[in-house]
């Protein structure tokens, strides 16, 4: 191809040609040719550039996807961690709210109480009792009432150990609490648990006028339970024609199954 030019003069010739072309470029003589070449090649270059960009985008997407998977995994772990943390904080908040309500009630009534955390439940399905993390070392004794919220009674201490205690909830069949209904005649009765399902108030005089929505509170007849603790609200009444008493079914004002913190009222020594 280039045999007509000797190699050494060729390099000098080409260098001279370049210098000439530089001159022609800067004198704008070469510019129209340059523009023409660029114009002719532009469509081809555009297509190739577009293809190159697509290939690069594909590569970027492929590598980014890997990054996204890693980021997603990291974020999922973070979400899980925060969910657990959030749940723990909600529990703490809930506990604080419970404690706060109970503290308000105690401050208002002048009663003393021991705040205890629920650490477990009796595994027997027919028994409704909870295990508390406080016991006789903190002054808890048998039959001390348990309250939650704003003075709602939920049970009584049934067993006490040095550092723990068990409380029978008011919906347990073993529970019996002397109550009065907040009506005109202050109807008396006894609330017993109905197999963990509901509360039944018995021994209500047939002459007393009670209605749904009336509130039952502790009567104060039991030496270890003060008067005025809310036990529940009447939601159904039955009265047999020949019976001497009428019966009412109560609904507790709190969800007894979801307790986390309770107050054990510290009653004076008998």
């Amino acid at each position: 191809m280039f045999k007509f030019i000797k190699s050494r003069p060729l390099s000098l010739t080409l260098l001279a040609a370049v210098i000439l072309l530089i001159f022609l470029h800067y004198t704008s003589i070469l510019v129209p040719i340059e523009n023409l070449v660029i114009r002719i090649l532009a469509p081809i270059q555009s297509k190739i550039y577009g293809t190159g960009t697509k290939v690069n985008d594909f590569y970027y997407d492929a590598t980014s996807r890997k990054d996204f998977v890693q980021a997603n995994e990291k974020l999922t772990n973070e979400v899980n961690r925060l969910t657990i943390e959030n749940a723990q904080l909600k529990t703490v908040l809930q506990d604080n709210q419970e404690v706060s309500k109970q503290a308000n009630f105690l401050a208002r009534t002048g009663l003393q109480a021991i705040t205890a955390r629920v650490v477990g439940k009796n595994p027997e399905p027919n028994l409704q009792s909870i295990i508390l993390d406080k016991g006789s070392n903190e002054g808890i004794k048998i039959n001390f009432p348990l309250i939650t919220d704003d003075g709602v009674m939920i049970g009584k201490i049934s067993q006490v150990k040095a550092n723990s205690s068990e409380a029978v909830l008011i919906n347990d069949s073993r529970s019996k609490i002397a109550v009065i209904i907040q009506n005109e005649s202050n109807s008396k009765g006894v609330v017993v648990g109905e197999h963990g399902l509901s509360l039944k108030m018995e021994l209500i005089s047939k002459n007393d006028v009670i209605k749904e929505g009336d509130i039952a509170i502790t009567s104060g007849l039991e030496p270890t339970i003060p008067r005025g603790l809310v036990v529940g609200k009447i939601n159904r009444i039955t009265a047999e024609p020949n019976a001497s008493f009428q019966t009412a079914w109560l609904q507790s004002l709190v969800k007894i199954d979801n307790l986390t913190v309770v107050s054990v009222l510290k009653m004076p020594e008998l």
């Binding site: 390099s11 072309l21 270059q45 190159g52 960009t53």
Partner: protein, 182 residues
Amino acid sequence: MIEIIFNIVGIFVVGIVQVSLLTTWPPPVSSLNLILSLVIFLAVIVNYQKGLWWALGAGLFLELYSAYSFGTTTLSLLAVVILINFLFSNLFTNRSLYSLLILGFIGTLSYNLFILFFNALALISGSSSYFLIFDFWSQFFWQPLFNTLILAIIFFTFHISTGRLKNIFLFPSNAYENKSQR
């Protein structure tokens, strides 16, 4: 004549690939200088004259899209071809893969130095207001590395396509062309 047209088309194709395709790749792969690699390959493995002509043609093509002063790229390519020919004639004895890779590496480094030199010259002479760009890793690490790699690929492709793979690691200096012709 046909060979000349073939070479001109080749220069355009490689130039377009360099300008429009390789530049779209992510760094540091985009620092690959295919034209420089081909020019070095031609100058070392095929023949010196062809390397010079390709340096001129490809250099002029790149000038159309270059941000440097006109002539910088072409002069640098020509200078590289002259330099590696000098090194090849005086320090190397054969057209082996090793010679090509070493010369490719040296050629790429020197190409960037020539670019810097001609740029500085243009700047001093006032023909360019363009400031010097100096990216050490891209110019003196990645580009030599990728150019050397692509030279190895070109070398193998060339020898596979020409059926001369058996002696790829040690070609006698007169395997294709007698050195005296150079």
